[in-house]
Every structure is written in C-alpha cells, then in structure tokens.
C-alpha cells in the first residue's frame, strides 16, 4: 500500500469504527473498539514507515489539488503525532474495554457503554485528520471534531465539577474556533487560497498578515489550555472516567500545540510575529511554575496528574521562543520527543489511577500506602511513568527536556532554562509525594476487588514505552526528521 | 416604471399601510390579546395585498400561484400560532385588560 493509502486509512478506519459502534450499540462497542484500534494503529504504522522510506506523503483529495481542493500531507512531524495517537490509543482502548466492560451497573452505566465507543473513535479519527490536514479550513473542521468529541466524553462522567469544566472549555474553545475561522477567512479574502503551502508562499508582512496571524494564533492559544486560561483543564481531566482522562491529557492537548507549531514556523512566517512567540513562551513558563505548585497541593492522584499536565504543557510552549532562527532544529527535536514521552507517561498515570479506582475506594494519596504490595503492576506503572514525568535519565521525558535545555544553552537564551530547571525541582516534589506512598514498603492487604488485569497491564505498557523513548531516542527523531519535518527547518 | 408596476403600486402601498398599522398596534396596544389582534391585521391583509401587488408585477401566472400559496400558508401558520399564544397566556392566568386605561 502506498503512503497515501495509509494516511487515508488512518482517518477513514476510525470513522468507520465510530459509525459501527454507534449502530452496534453497547454490546458490540468494545469489540468494534478493539478491532478499530488495531486497524487504525496499523495505518499509523504503515504511514510512518512510508514517511521513513520516502519522505513526505501527500494526497490530493478528490484529485483536484490545491487551491481548489483539499490536500492531506504527512511529514515526519505528522507521522510522529499519528504514531503517538496510535500508541496511546491502543492502550486506552484496551483499558476502556475492561473499564466499561461487564454487564450491569444500571441505566447510567449502559448509557456510558453505548456512548463512549463512538465518541472515543470519533476523537481518534479527528486527531488523525487534524495531524494530516494541509488546508487551513479543513483544520477548522477537524478542530471542532476534536473539541466536540472531547466535551462529549467529559460530559459522560456526569461529575459536577467536570460538567462545569466542560461548559467552560466549550465556551473558550468555541471562541477560539471563531477567532481562528475569522483569521482563515481574512487570509482567504486576501490571498485566495486555503492551502497551507499556498498561504506560506503568498503571505508577506502587512496589516492583513498581522491581523490574521493574531486571530489564528490567539484562537489556537485559547484552545491550548495555556496559562492563564488553563483553569478548566484540571477539573475536566481529573473528573472524567480514567480512559477519557488519559486520551484528553495525553492527546487532545497536543492538537492545538501542534497547530501553533505549524502556523508559527511554517504557514505564517511571513506574518513576522516574533513577539507572539516570546509571549507564548512566557505563558508556558508561567504554566510550568503554576501547574507544578498546584500539583503539590492536590490530595488525589488524578488531581496531581491533571495539574502536572498544565505544567508539562508549559515546557512544550518554550519551543516557540527557543525555535527562533538557529535553535529551530534542536528545539523541534526536543519538543517532539517531549510531547511523545509526555503522552505515553501521562496516559499511563491516568490509566493506573483508573485501575486504582476500580480496586480501592478512592485515589486519595493518603489511601495509596502500600500500593506496591497491594497492586504491584499498577505501582510499577506509576513509578516508571513518574520517572519520565520527572525527566530523570534515561527516560523519554529526560531526552526531550535535555534537548530543549541544550537549545537554550546553545543559542545563549539562558533565561528560558530557568523555568525548566525550577519545574524539574517542583516535579520532583509532587512526584515523590505520590511515589513515597506507592512504592513504600508499607505492608498492605490485597484489595478486596481486583482491578481488571487489562487495565493494569495497559498502564504498565505505556509507562515502559515512555521510558523506552529515552533509550532509543533516535527512532522517533529519525521519523521526525523524515521528509524535512517542517518546511524551512532541517533537524 | 412599467404599466404593471403602476398597477401594482396601490396594492403595495396599501400593504405597507397595514403593516405599519399592525406594528403600531403591536407597540401601543395595552395587552397581549389586542396586540395579537393587531399582528393578525399585518399578516392577513398586509401580506395579502403585498401578494396581489407582487403577482401583478410578476406578470406570470405560475409565480402568482406560488405567491398566493405562500399567503395561504402564512395564514395557517399565523392563525395557529396566535391561537397557541393566546391559549397559553390564558392558562398562565393572563387576563385581558378591560375598560379604558
């Protein structure tokens, strides 16, 4: 199969799965989900190997080609993101099949079993479509797909704080979409094209570029849970069912970041918005400190993990100031590795808390004592994933953070290293609060209810994968570099 | 202006008058029921006269038939909704204003 066929499959397969899950209903859902996850992941893998072998893959939908038609494009960065979605996606699917499995649980549980699968598979398709889009209006549609499926998944929980957070996120996200859409509309009104490459070629500095650039970047930043607009994220991610939290915290937050990278570095360099890049970095730095401090104050595992996402997202945003001129290639490698490792480790932690919640009455940190002897697999998952979140060598988190730090030193932008180092110290604080309880040798009784083995194993597999990224960082980096990664940036 | 336009003019002018009257009534009448009464004037007479005027101007029988159908549909819809609003108001305990204000 050609690279383009894999790319098309990566979108159509989960869409078909979502449709089948909707029609098939609660009983068929998990089997449809498992089959779809396998096939979608195979498409992502096929696409990645095609990109590795032959560079950037392009496809003209409808055969028209830009500017009349829509094009799909997969370069190294897109392929890496698709692989990230696939890896996390499989684990989430396996875990969810156990989490939502079984009969009974009343009407409410039946509703969840019915709605989770189509919502989740639509989300998967939306993410794949977003990472493959090369048309700025098509990006708008995929963004809405991601946003609405994410809100639907959070609403599934029915937890009061999560509902409020979902409402707040929806309003912010819609406002962000409108700003983005207006920016796209202005670009079209000025340039007569919606194709990313066409806009890059045609856009020069001027009033149009500044206004449209500010609208597009501002709209995306609204959706990215960037400090100080991060307030909805922790309650939404902490309050959702564990597999949902894993998908949201690992994958959905990356979508807006990915688009910001594309727009600042690739589509709108003509807009010349250097101050926007510094602003994004500064807000990221504030997010690192604030998120870490809040994570220290949480008394539930899911709360710690959710606030840690706010902090870890901050690291990613340091990419923007670091990537200016000389630092672009190293910064991109660092951000790519960091995003991948964070996705794997964060999903592992949320799936582990899901397993804990199945077996123990709550995920309060006080109640976790003796986890190592009571749920050894889950405790191992928490421990290994925390090592990557802490960015201890040789984990994946370390590899990414190290590359970002080296960019700061190599380009003489020492200031940006300070929040990274400070964030590391704070992360040590909140991670050890979890770890000391999880792996301390306090003897504990085996829990009366066992968590499904599939949930424990999927968490552990993800944690090990996050660690392994640090052992073989060349593998994702080679993929990232294939096909030029970003136009104008050669790692 | 063509001859057809001149022939249509009185109907359109009369239509505008009834719409204006209906709107004034909507704004000035004392209670819900009399306001509905004013609105019905605009829908029934104003729209009807506009339809006649436009049908003359169009000079085509097919268009005229479509216009008349539109008017009939609007009549059904407006009388039904006026009835529903009035009935709903009565159930909620809204009483017509009696006497002069």
């Amino acid at each position: 199969m050609s690279g383009a066929a894999w790319a098309i499959g990566a979108v159509l397969v989960p869409l078909a799965g979502a449709t089948a899950a909707l029609v098939g209903g609660a009983r068929a859902g998990r089997w449809v989900g498992l089959a779809t996850a396998g096939a979608s992941a195979a498409c992502a893998g096929g696409l990645a190997s095609a990109v590795l072998a032959g560079g950037t893959v392009r496809h003209r939908v409808g055969g028209w080609g830009a500017p009349l038609g829509i094009e799909l494009r997969a370069d190294g960065l897109s392929a890496l993101m698709l692989v990230m979605v696939a890896a996390v996606g499989i684990a989430v699917t396996v875990s969810a099949a156990a989490y939502f499995g079984g009969a009974g649980g009343g009407e409410e549980q039946g509703r969840r079993r019915l709605l989770f699968w189509p919502l989740w598979l639509f989300l998967w398709a939306a993410l794949d479509a977003l990472f493959l889009a090369a048309d700025v209006f098509n990006v708008y549609v995929t963004l809405e797909l991601v946003g609405l499926s994410a809100v639907g998944l959070v609403a599934l929980a029915g937890d009061r704080a999560a509902l409020g957070a979902a409402a707040r996120y929806l309003v912010l996200a819609l406002l962000g979409s409108l700003a983005y859409l207006l920016g796209v509309g202005l670009l079209y009104a000025g340039l007569g094209t919606l194709d990313a490459g066409g806009i890059r070629a045609a856009l020069g500095p001027g009033l149009l570029a500044t206004a449209a650039g500010a609208l597009v970047l501002g709209g995306l930043a609204l959706k990215a849970a960037l400090f100080p607009l991060h307030g909805w994220l922790p309650p939404a991610h902490a309050g959702a069912p564990a597999p949902v939290s894993a998908a949201l915290s690992a994958l959905v937050v990356k979508a807006a970041f990915y688009l910001l990278v594309r727009f600042t570095r690739e589509i709108l360099p003509g807009a010349a918005l250097p101050r926007a890049e510094v602003l994004l970095g500064a807000l990221g730095a504030a997010g690192i400190v604030w998120g870490s401090l809040q994570a220290l104050r949480q008394d539930r595992l899911k709360g710690v993990v959710a606030y840690s996402t706010v902090a870890q997202l901050g690291y990613l945003f340091l990419f923007f100031p670091l990537a200016r001129d000389a630092g672009a290639a190293t910064a991109l490698s660092g951000a790519g590795l960091f995003a991948l490792a964070h996705a794997l480790a964060k999903a592992a932690l949320f799936l582990a808390s899901g397993a804990i919640l199945k077996a123990l009455p709550s995920d309060r940190l006080d109640g976790l004592a003796g986890l190592g002897s009571r749920m050894p697999l889950t405790a191992a998952a928490v421990a290994v994933a925390s090592v990557s979140i802490l960015a201890l060598p040789p984990s994946g988190g370390f590899a990414g953070k190290w590359l970002l730090l080296s960019t700061a030193f190599a380009t003489g932008r020492w200031g940006w290293a300070v929040p990274m180092l400070l964030g590391g110290v704070l992360a040590a604080g909140y991670s050890f609060r979890v770890l000391e309880r999880a792996i301390a040798s306090t003897p504990g009784d085996a829990p009366p209810v066992r968590a499904p083995l599939a949930m424990e194993l999927s968490a552990l597999a993800l944690a090990l994968a996050a660690f392994a990224v640090g052992l073989v960082p060349w593998a994702p980096l080679r993929l990232l570099g294939a096909g030029g990664a970003l136009a104008g940036v050669a790692p | 202006m063509t001859a057809l336009d001149w022939m249509a003019l009185p109907f359109l002018a009369a239509s505008a008058f009834f719409f204006l009257a209906g709107t004034v009534g909507l704004l000035r009448f004392p209670d819900l029921f009399t306001r509905l009464h004013a609105l019905a004037k605009a829908d029934n007479l104003g729209l009807g006269l506009a339809v006649v005027g436009l049908a003359i101007r169009s000079g085509s029988a097919a268009v005229a038939v479509k216009l008349v159908l539109t008017w009939l549909l609007a009549l059904v819809a407006s009388s039904t909704s006026c009835h529903l609003i009035a009935r709903g108001a009565r159930r909620e305990g809204v009483e017509p204003v009696r006497g002069r204000r």
């Binding site: 609403a155 509902l163 409020g164 707040r168 819609l174 979409s177 207006l182 919606l194 | -």
Partner: protein, 100 residues
C-alpha cells in the same frame, strides 16, 4: 463604500457585540447567545468579502454553510450542557475561573 465592505464592517460590529455577550455574562445560555452572534458576525465578514466579484465567489459560501452546521452542533451540545448544569447545580452558570 461598496455593499461588500459595508456588510463586512457590519459583521465586525456584530462580532464585537457577540464578544461582549460572552465576556459580560456567566449564564451559559446567554454565552451561547453571544457565541451565536459572534459566529454570525464572522460568517457575515466572510460572505460579504466574497461579494467583491460578480458573481460572488462560491467557495466562502460553502465554507459558511459548513460553519453554520458546525455552529448548530456546538449550540446543541452547549444547550444540553446548560440544562444538565442547571439540574446538577441549580443554575446554568459557567463556573468562575478557579485560581486558588
């Protein structure tokens, strides 16, 4: 002033009104009203600017048709959330930014 630019400015003003609606209110339904106004403003700008040729450029029309459907979907979801929030908390308020 051409009609195209006239309506484009009207759309920008409508967007401003909608933005004010989102900023000034915390009731979720009111915010959805504001978002609908802002959306209409954005659509108006896009379609008005397509009127700068004769016949008008059909591509923005298609984009706005897609945008209207997306907007309807978002409105439906937001209103369902508002009803649920009202049932759970007794008020369809969007919670304040919690900055503890």
């Amino acid at each position: 002033m051409t009609s195209a630019h006239l309506f484009a400015f009207s759309g920008v003003a409508l967007l401003g009104a909608g933005l004010l609606g989102v900023l000034a209110h915390r009731h979720l339904v009111r915010r959805v009203v504001g978002l609908n106004l802002a959306g209409s403003g954005v659509f108006l700008v896009i379609v008005a600017l397509a009127r700068r040729s004769d016949p008008p450029d059909p591509v923005p029309h298609a984009l706005v048709l897609t945008g209207l459907v997306v907007g309807l979907s978002a409105t439906a979801l937001a209103l369902a959330l508002a009803v649920r929030l009202h049932r759970e908390t007794g008020a369809a308020r969007v919670p304040e930014e919690d900055g503890p």
